[in-house]
Symmetry: C2
Subunit: 142 residues, 2 copies
């Protein structure tokens, strides 16, 4: 459960309307350790949520800076909560993503240091992403 105060503050900050569906969706992201796809979101809702509403909410959350796209092993749209620094104007995702070959989940590795190079052989680098594949902590111990 997420307390109402946090929802108020968050939705205010990101300029989002507090509909019951979007509040539930935010809770889902907040309580979930790793990223979510539209299908996973759908499955976790007791009251069946319309997929169009899911996609549109995800899109809106992303534009606002609340969530960001993460890579997915099967090329699905998949999202994770942003750090609190993100806004519609500044999505700063300075962390690596890890795709588990076993469970197919995507994890954000917040403390993996990225190369900070801003140019290379004349190429101007505005954004640098790292995508790792391997075995995640839980799958390793099975």
């Amino acid at each position: 459960m997420v307390d109402n105060k946090l929802i108020d503050v968050t939705f205010k900050k990101y300029g989002l309307r507090k509909t019951s569906f979007r509040k539930n969706l935010f809770e889902l992201f907040h309580n979930s350790l790793n990223s979510l796809s539209a299908k996973e979101i759908s499955l976790r809702f007791s009251t069946s949520a319309d997929k169009v509403s899911i996609y549109r909410a995800l899109d809106s959350f992303e534009k606002s800076g609340l969530i960001h796209k993460v890579p997915d092993k099967n090329n699905l749209l998949r999202y994770s909560l942003c750090k609190s620094e993100c806004t519609p104007n500044q999505h700063a995702h300075d962390h690596a993503h890890f795709l588990c070959s076993v469970c197919d989940e995507t994890f954000c590795l917040d403390d993996f240091t990225l190369p900070s190079t801003k140019s290379h052989n004349g190429f101007l680098i505005n954004d640098l992403k790292i995508i790792m594949e391997g075995t995640c902590v839980s799958c390793k111990s099975i």
Copy 2:
């Protein structure tokens, strides 16, 4: 145009059958600086190629070690030619990819040093990819 000798050598090396379609597909990859999606491939063929053949050829090329998947902004299947060291048993893609925001081309930056970390916080890392976005050399000077 790609000389027949190269096709012979390449197809032999990767254990691929020399069908006219697959020879053309190889030429396409060989003559193209950037990566290719199924749709882009389809559009560049004069004689309309069946999409199933395209997907199956891409799959077969990938398994053989001739091409490898490249991340795509719109979650499409997208491929690039491998370095000549690749085989079905050893796909070694130890280079970064650069996507130019201006001209949309993909460049392989062979000499960009990748982090060599093999594990992080209990996650076992088998493969690490770097995708950069920015402005390429030619677009910078326009």
